[in-house]
Symmetry: C2
Subunit: 114 residues, 2 copies
DNA sequence: AAAAAAAGCAACCAAGAGGTTGCATCTGCC
DNA sequence: GGCAGATGCAACCTCTTGGTTGCTTTTTTT
């Protein structure tokens, strides 16, 4: 009954910064802004929150390293855009977990019925 | 074109601790253990990780407050079990975000084509 | 050319997170 | 009763995180 874990350590390692990036109120807010309000600059974004522009910059960097946003320079301003791909990744990790759980339930059921 | 945000602040507030709980390597590992290996005790779980039993206890408490696990006393030991419901919640938050993004893309497309 | 807008950089700070050790408490069993 | 296993509780420590302020650099605009 022992078998390889369906969720490899490598996958876990990739999932951690992704979920961690989502686990902050300001950053979630930023994501919502970017994905419903379209691409925006840092100064524009920081107008919507209670914290300083520099704080927002740091949050955007965290989101960026997690792959959830990307930025591009345009003249004197930097435009930040939402990156939907990584959201799909996060979704898959959750999917994998709940699938694992279902399998586990199935095993238990089979065991009980034997 | 302005309209109420599809992702309410209340929902965001609930999502934060959920994602934050998932954003740690040890906690993700615990979840994997619990959902593929079935209900386990703290001491049993801490055997699978490099950190102390107390550290694991703290992590389980975080997971518990996020609603991702629950525990019950059985004699002198406490059994921790995976709670799949909250995973579904997390899934829905992600879904909402990507839906919001799609809507936003739709608006942009409509605007360009006008 | 000078002023203003946008962003970048760096130092610093307080609070929280993750971890540890040590000891107390509860429960099952001989 | 008394021992051993499992957990609970509390103090403590260190590093990270989220935030700040102040100053510089780059690019527009007038």
């Amino acid at each position: 009954m022992s078998r390889a874990n369906a969720i490899s350590p490598a996958r876990l390692k990739d999932a951690v910064p992704l979920f961690a990036a989502l686990g902050d109120a300001t950053r979630l807010g930023l994501l919502v802004s970017l994905c419903s309000g379209g691409p925006l600059t840092v100064t524009r974004l920081s107008g919507q929150f209670e914290v300083s522009r520099q704080a927002i910059t740091k949050h955007l960097e965290v989101l960026s390293e997690a792959g959830l946003v990307k930025s591009s320079r345009q003249g004197r301003e930097r435009i930040w855009t939402f990156e939907p791909k990584r959201l799909e990744d996060a979704h898959q990790y959750l999917e994998r977990l709940s699938k694992e759980w279902d399998v586990s339930l199935g095993r238990l059921k089979a065991f009980v019925e034997t």
